[in-house]
Amino acid sequence: METLYQYAWLIPVLPLAGAMIIGLGLISYNQSVNRLRTASSVLIVSLIGTAMVLSFGLLWSQVQGHAPYVQSFDWAAAGDFHLRMGFVIDHLTALMLVIVTSVAFLVMIYTDGYMAHDPGYVRFYAYLSLFSSSMLGLVISPNLVQVYIFWELVGMCSYLLIGFWYDRKAAADACQKAFVTNRVGDFGLLLGILALYWATGSFEFDVIGDRLQDLVQSGALSGGMAALFAILVFLGPVAKSAQFPLHVWLPDAMEGPTPISALIHAATMVAAGVFLIARMFPVFEGIPVAMDVIAWTGGVTAFLGASIAITQNDIKKGLAYSTMSQLGYMVMAMGVGAYTAGLFHLMTHAFFKAMLFLGSGSVIHGMEAVVGHDPVLAQDMRLMGGLRKYMPITAITFLIGTLAICGIPPFAGFWSKDEILGQTFNANPALWLVGWLTAGITAFYMFRMYFSTFEGSFRGNDSAIKQQLKIEQLQRMGLAFGPGAMNPKELTAEFPTSDAPDNSPDAHDSHHSSTPHESPLAMWLPLVILAIPSMLVGLIGTPFANYFEAFIHAPGKVMETAAEFEWSEFLIMGGSSVGIALIGITLATLMYRTQKIDPGAIADKIQPLYQLSLNKWYIDDIYDAVFVKGSRRLARQVLEVDVRIVDGLVNLTGFVTLVTGEALKYLESGKVQFYALIVFGAVLGLVLVSGIT
């Protein structure tokens, strides 16, 4: 076993090596490497597969009770300062390694089908591998600085992958938005790390926690300062895990190819924020103010995400807001001290949400055969419907995922969400209410999504809807182009391919099919495999036999072995959350399955609320007006000042000096460069003269 631990560093290094080999190949021999599609993907997939086997080995060994293993080396040093890097393998790391490698492995297999016709197939694998490597590096980090390093690296991979189709304007904007929003969070994280190091002299998680406690208790550091430091660190997870108010990047990030939406923006990277809170738990738990901030941020995000997801028509955007909402649950769990429950939900969510996203990718893949490679058409649920007939495997797995996220027992989501809600109720009934309501909304919007996608009749050939969607898109672009370009017809003439270059007339001709088809084996196999944990993984964390808690619990906490299990409490809590989920499902059925209630009529009645949800609470618009436009204006003004005032003043000062001096005549004759020569000559002359005498 010991050997396994010594070679644990291979887990992030293997995918890195793969990414570097392919990356260098692409730079040096672009065309030949691009032709080696199978070889490249097999290499990358087998490397991550090896990492997965190693991870399972480590998890097994940790379950057997192996002690945590730490290894580090001196990375940077100056004076007495030493910064060490390395890796730690403990229960949390082992669990995260397994989650990341297994989801990554399945997503990479899926990619082979999804990206089969993309010219960037090999490049995509290189990026995926690079991302896996960074993410694995993040979870094995033994200290805050290393976390920060990989934190930024996963952000970079996310940037590259969101902007993968770089000729789409929307993707170009989205990737920059994601990176910059995350940098705002990292700004807080960096300041937090600096402040904690200043206060405690350490980057190690538990050392910081202990010393901070001592400092606060001895009065050397005020409680307010400690809370401020903790909240600064928390800003990092706020951005990375798409928590309000820095959540705006995640829905836009759906411009990236669907496999990465599943891997990065649902299962792994966005969960890194929750992971960091778990790692920093020794620090946070001693600071009640920080815990409250975390809990409420999570609660608000959960509700906000769900409330927006209700009205989304883009299947991926809907799932993105759902992810944001579920991440809110995890963060809320951390905030109320439900460490185990939060991580349990992280795990179950990773599996079922990855499956849901891959399922949506499968749907999009099928839709593209009918409507063409245009995200505006292929991803809109108004054009779908009745897909269960054509894509049975996708439909069944999607239904399993939907049931899991709604919290219907015995699917995975029930156990984890119920545990979060139960513990939240004990800590803060108001927050529980928020979480409970959100559970109902979740059930509603997920079944709305399921019904409009897979049930009813297929609407993909309805040209009236297509026309309407195109006009809506042009109107959105029209807004972006300013009031001068509001006529959609004009825009069609001017920008016929602006947002979807593949959507040229020729591309249209190649889509003969009028019905969608089931996806290839490489795509449905991962769905089926992921369906198994989505159904069953919750059973390891049932309240009556919680093996998960025995394995993962807050550091320093001794397990309350006889956490006496009360059936009555379980039934009340579980019953209430299942109850509200059933209400949500019933509503969705009435509105979108049997069409007993007309959703349009309700939307008309509560127009302001509907618009609020549809426009994402106007948060993006506010940010755009205040921060984006504001910073542009400020920058332009500073540049004006620089060019007109600073430059002018300095030139004037210099000029006045020159005018008063001898150099004026050189200026007038236009040969100012002689000025420099004169100075140089004078000194040289001085040297020579004194040399002779």
Binding site: A78, Q176, L194, W198, G201, L215, V646, V687, G691
Partner: protein, 532 residues
């Protein structure tokens, strides 16, 4: 042969200069400059090998002392000596100079206008630049400092863009105006006291009174603020950089800016530590202004070269913060930031040049969507921009992290001041990706710009260009992965400098009395009680 006694530094300085005088003899039958550029490249490679060999075989990285010392009497009546040497401060920069200049020669392949003169000037600069970092005599320093201006002036004014004469004139006026202050301060220091000496070592040991130090410090600061550059003396830089050709650009950004930082540490910090204690808060404020002000101007700039030029100014702000931190870590970070920016700045400017060669425009609004036609340039540009925005795994991140941690743990400032500076500097961390990623987006992303694609032939990078960027990325990533690779070269020296500074600082704190209170910006160390 005993290689230890060989005059390595003199050879490295004089070899390219002497070799440059043979350029007129190089046969060039086609008149296209092919043999000339090969000649220059071979000279550059030989000199680079010599530098690396001298470093490898005769330089002891564990010692903070001056090594590879040579001293020959030149003008005895003035006690002017040709004295050169290298310590932890010079050595990384000499290696950097040798490396970047050789790559710049390779980057000059497309130069067809007056190739003889161009490569002659490049080789002269090669020696001149190394001399700036190696000489140990103040008067000599002034001479080589001025000497290196003339090739730059000519390179700018003959091979530059449309406004090249204006830019070149502005460059030389600013720098030469600044260097007058060096001359005055250096002469004053040399003649102060009983002995007259220009030797930097001896000057370090001279005991100048505080007021004298403050004046000399201010003089040097003006000169080096032009070079580094520091707000508000930076406005020559966007003009000069906006007009220069790619190889000159690489030298300007990669090496010339570093002269300012080097001289600031060498003279202001090492020779005038008492004044540095007083001036340090001003440096911090200037550093923060540099970071934020230049990042904002860069964001608003629509001209690609000027955008990157402003980004250089922004990055140099971190050097100032590191120098003023009074910690080992901060000082080490400042040197690292200089080397790191030398590599990253050179690579970015080279890529801007390569892009310009294809698009023939520098205005961002006239570009767009060229990523499809030039995927390699796109990939390299992305990598270098990410390096510039301090992505971990690249050298810029390590340097900024060291400066941040160094300054945050500094015991020389009171808490409020420190918090303000750190927070403002960290805002730069948000601003940098905004302007760099916007730039990438506007050049490469989105649908192709029809007007551009139809009128220009957009070919992807050739192997020579890939090689240059790869050569630059190897050390950038190497240092990013394992910073000790570079920091151990100069650690001994920066620790010595910091120790000296801290002595000066604590003496100043002790001597503090009510009369000095208004010019004494420090309060008692705030860290001591909490760091235990």
């Amino acid at each position: 042969m005993n290689t230890a006694d060989f005059p390595w530094l003199t050879t490295i300085i004089l070899f390219p200069i002497v070799a440059s005088f043979f350029i007129p003899l190089v046969p060039d039958k086609e008149g296209k400059g092919r043999p000339i550029r090969w000649y220059a490249l071979v000279i550059g490679l030989i000199n680079f090998s010599l530098t690396v060999y001298a470093f490898y075989s005769n330089y002891d990285i564990s010692s903070p002392d001056l090594q590879l010392v040579e001293s020959y009497s030149w003008v005895s009546s003035l006690d002017l000596r040709w004295s050169v040497g290298a310590d932890g401060l010079s050595m990384p920069l000499i290696l950097l100079t040798s490396f970047i200049t050789t790559l710049a020669i390779l980057a000059s392949w497309p130069v067809t206008l007056k190739p003889r003169l161009f490569f002659f000037l490049l080789l002269v600069m090669y020696g001149g630049q190394i001399a700036v970092f190696a000489v140990q005599d103040m008067l000599l320093f002034f001479l080589v400092w001025e000497l290196e201006l003339l090739p730059v002036y000519l390179l700018l004014s003959i091979w530059g863009g449309k406004k090249r004469l204006y830019a070149a004139t502005k460059f030389i006026l600013y720098t030469a105006g600044g260097s007058l202050f060096i001359l005055v301060a250096a002469l004053a220091m040399a003649f102060y006291g009983d002995t007259t000496t220009f030797d930097m070592r001896s000057l370090m040991e001279k005991d100048f009174p505080l007021n004298f130090q403050l004046l000399a410090y201010a003089g040097f600061l003006i000169a080096y603020a032009v070079k580094l550059p520091i707000f508000p003396l930076h406005t020559w830089l966007p003009d000069a950089h906006g007009e220069a050709t790619a190889p000159v650009h690489m030298l300007l950004a990669g090496i010339l800016l570093k002269m300012g930082g080097y001289a600031l540490i060498r003279m202001n910090v090492e020779m005038l530590p008492d004044a540095h204690v007083r001036f340090a808060p001003i440096l911090l404020i200037l550093g923060v202004v540099n970071i934020i002000y230049a990042a904002l101007t860069s964001f608003a700039q629509r001209n690609l070269k000027r955008k990157i030029a402003y980004s250089s100014i922004s990055h140099m702000g971190f050097v100032l913060i590191g120098i003023a931190s009074f910690t080992d870590l901060g000082m080490s970070g400042a040197v690292l930031q200089m080397v790191s920016h030398g590599l990253i700045g050179a690579s970015l400017f080279f890529l801007v040049g390569a892009t310009y060669d294809r698009t023939h425009t520098l205005i961002l609004d006239e570009m767009g969507g060229v990523g499809k036609k030039m995927p390699r340039i796109f990939a390299m540009f992305t990598a270098c921009s990410l390096a510039s925005l301090a992505l971990p795994g690249m050298s810029g991140f390590v340097a900024e992290l060291m400066i941040f941690v160094g300054f945050a743990t500094s015991d020389a400032y009171d808490l409020t001041f420190k918090v303000i500076i750190v927070v403002l500097a960290a805002i730069g961390v948000i601003l940098t990706p905004i302007y760099l990623l916007s730039m990438l987006r506007e050049i490469f992303y989105g649908p192709e710009n029809k007007a551009l694609v139809e009128h220009e032939v957009l070919v992807d990078a050739e192997p020579r260009e890939v090689f240059i960027i790869a050569s630059l990325l190897v050390p950038i990533i190497g240092i990013g992965f394992y910073p000790k690779l570079l920091t151990q070269v100069y650690d001994a020296k920066t620790e010595e400098i910091t120790a000296r500074l801290r002595t000066a600082y604590f003496m100043a704190v002790e001597k503090r009395n009510p009369a000095l209170a208004d010019i004494q910006p420090f309060q008692a160390p705030a860290l001591q009680d909490t760091a235990s």
